[in-house]
């Protein structure tokens, strides 16, 4: 049994290595590069100003919208964007905590539409509602997290 568990542990860490290097790392590198592009071009400031009123409802600065946009494409990108904005001092730990559940609740919807809804054979008529529920979950979760930070 202990040998069996040890081999399970090794299997798991190998899985972790694969997820980390193939899914997480490329997405984080791209997210950091994009944040830097947005920042040096001044677009991040503009985006932040435009989205500030909406994001303020969630207790977040306007720039945090880039986390939500990135995560919609890939959760790894959302995580990377949050870490990038944190390292630039634009987000603090309260902001990251508020964003944390939302990053996953609305994460990678396009990718999962194929992998979950497609595989399970869900009627495409329901796709818009399913997308909407994911985004609504994220919005409500951000409001909920405001009480904990």
């Amino acid at each position: 049994m202990p040998g069996n568990l040890y081999s399970a542990f090794v299997e798991g860490t190998v899985k972790g290595w694969k997820v980390a290097t193939q899914n997480m790392l490329p997405n984080v590198v791209i997210a950091f590069a994009l944040i830097t592009m947005l920042q040096t071009s001044g677009l991040l400031d503009g985006l932040g100003r435009v989205c500030a009123p909406v994001m303020a409802a969630f207790g977040l600065p306007g720039e945090a919208v880039t986390v939500l946009i990135s995560t919609w494409f890939s959760a790894g990108g959302g995580v990377g964007a949050a870490a990038g904005l944190y390292s630039h001092g634009i987000l603090n730990s309260a902001h990251v905590s508020i964003l944390m559940p939302a990053i996953f609740l609305m994460g990678a919807q396009i990718q999962y539409a194929g992998r979950i809804l497609g595989v399970a054979g869900i009627n495409p008529r329901h796709y818009p509602v399913l997308y909407g529920i994911g985004i609504l979950n994220a919005a409500l979760a951000m409001l909920t997290m405001r009480f904990f930070v």
Partner: protein
Amino acid sequence: MSDSCVSRRPLPLSAYAALIVTIVFFSGALAGAPGILGSLDFTTVSGSFGKIAGDFTFLGKGGGGARYGFLFALSLVPGIMLALGVVEVAERMQALHAAQKLLTPLMKPLLGLPGSAGLALISSLQSSDAGAAMTKDLHDKGLLSEKEKTVFAAFQFSSASSVTVYLSMGVALFPFLCVPHLLPLGVILFYKIAGTNLMRLYLHFAKRNREAL
């Protein structure tokens, strides 16, 4: 492994113990606890990189862009490996089946789904692909109606593979949180259930509207 054979065989106590220890391990509840208990903490066991020039890790200071992103991502790799290693051990000790057993009676009241979908539900928290394939299989066997399948999809689609993704990608943000590490995961699971019930309501009213026409 079919779900019927899983539910009939009694689970060893070690399965429940593994489930509880795994949850405690990732919760951060034992961080800084004295003696053996303190060693059962994810952040403690993940450890830290050595310091360079007194204050900094190999990430240094003032980096940015793709290069900094690469080093940052690299610094997360050990934590992800450790997390998924622990999850795999817990799974081998049947912690997932213990969770399924505890959950089965709650399926109908919480989600409006039959208890037979319990294994698919627990699997979907670990692997969205396994969950989706099992959902299709349950439907093909007549254990889930078309409506139940759609309701179940709402659960799986928002925060897919919740536990695995949270304990791999999410680990990256653990150091920046000002709340207990597992609290956001609890909020995620709460809204997955809430969203599933929203889907139930929607399908209920969509059907009524069609009948009214």
